[in-house]
Symmetry: C2
Subunit: 160 residues, 2 copies
């Protein structure tokens, strides 16, 4: 099962390595790993997406909780959360296919963030399904390079 | 100096931990760390933002190049690149301040991705300066939680 795990940590050297090490120590592959400052610059928020056996994930979460740099661990799986990913795509945009690229960008509400004589760089945000869909559409037109942000997620606000 | 380092790696367990370990081994703090699949699912793209002495960064890059899982290391610093970050912000949206929140979201071309009776969750993309600016504007209105994607970057297409 796919797990989205959110970890609030002290912003100290080595914390990324200690946390990712817990996963690799058990042979778990990480689908995406994002670590960035939280609202308070003393803390960072790490979001890990991984696929694996629920029991082993539970053990990893217990071990995460034991690390002194870890303040809070939340397994978002099974609860309601908003998840988004961003992707930058550099796609061929020659005279023959520019109009088609622009149509696709428009449908997916993307933005063109860089233009050169033969390429457009496109920014798209959305869930995994949306990003896979636009990649499938643009591939035949000639994708030169992509970079993905990995998944970030916030639990939905609780109803009062 | 701020460095943005892009690393293409084999998508194998432990690669995140080995790469981040090279930085922490030298006491370097990582500002943001993003690892996600590349266009070919056998490879992942890791983007690391760090601040530090140029000579030590150069040594780390040499060591990165020696890791067998590492296919290519590029220090984007000093070259032309497109960098973007995404942020999800959950902000208080009560009757008194909803209009103001919406105005700010509109000016920054953000999207409201979740609504509950008292909160909006906003998605914004841009460079670091833009994200800091919207956080400064929303803070007095009551930010409950944020999650940032960290910086992702693509070199600009070369002119022919």
């Amino acid at each position: 099962m796919r797990h989205v795990i959110s970890v609030l940590v002290d912003n100290v050297p080595g914390v990324v390595s200690r946390i990712s090490g817990l996963f690799s120590g058990r042979g778990f592959n990480i689908e995406s790993f994002v670590g960035a400052p939280s609202l308070d610059p003393n803390f960072s928020r790490i979001i890990i997406v991984t696929e694996g056996n629920d029991q082993i994930i539970e053990q990893i979460i217990k071990q995460l909780n034991k690390l002194i740099d870890v303040i809070k661990v939340t397994d978002l799986t099974g609860s309601q959360f908003v998840d988004r990913e961003m992707i930058l795509i550099r796609v061929k945009a020659e005279e023959s296919n520019r109009a088609e690229v622009l149509r696709i960008v428009d449908i997916f509400r993307g933005k063109i963030v860089d233009v050169s004589p033969n390429f457009y760089t496109i920014e798209i945000t959305g869930d995994q399904g949306k990003l896979e869909a636009i990649l499938d559409l643009l591939k035949p037109l000639g994708i030169q390079e992509i970079v993905r942000s990995g998944c970030i997620a916030l639990p939905r606000a609780k109803k009062k």
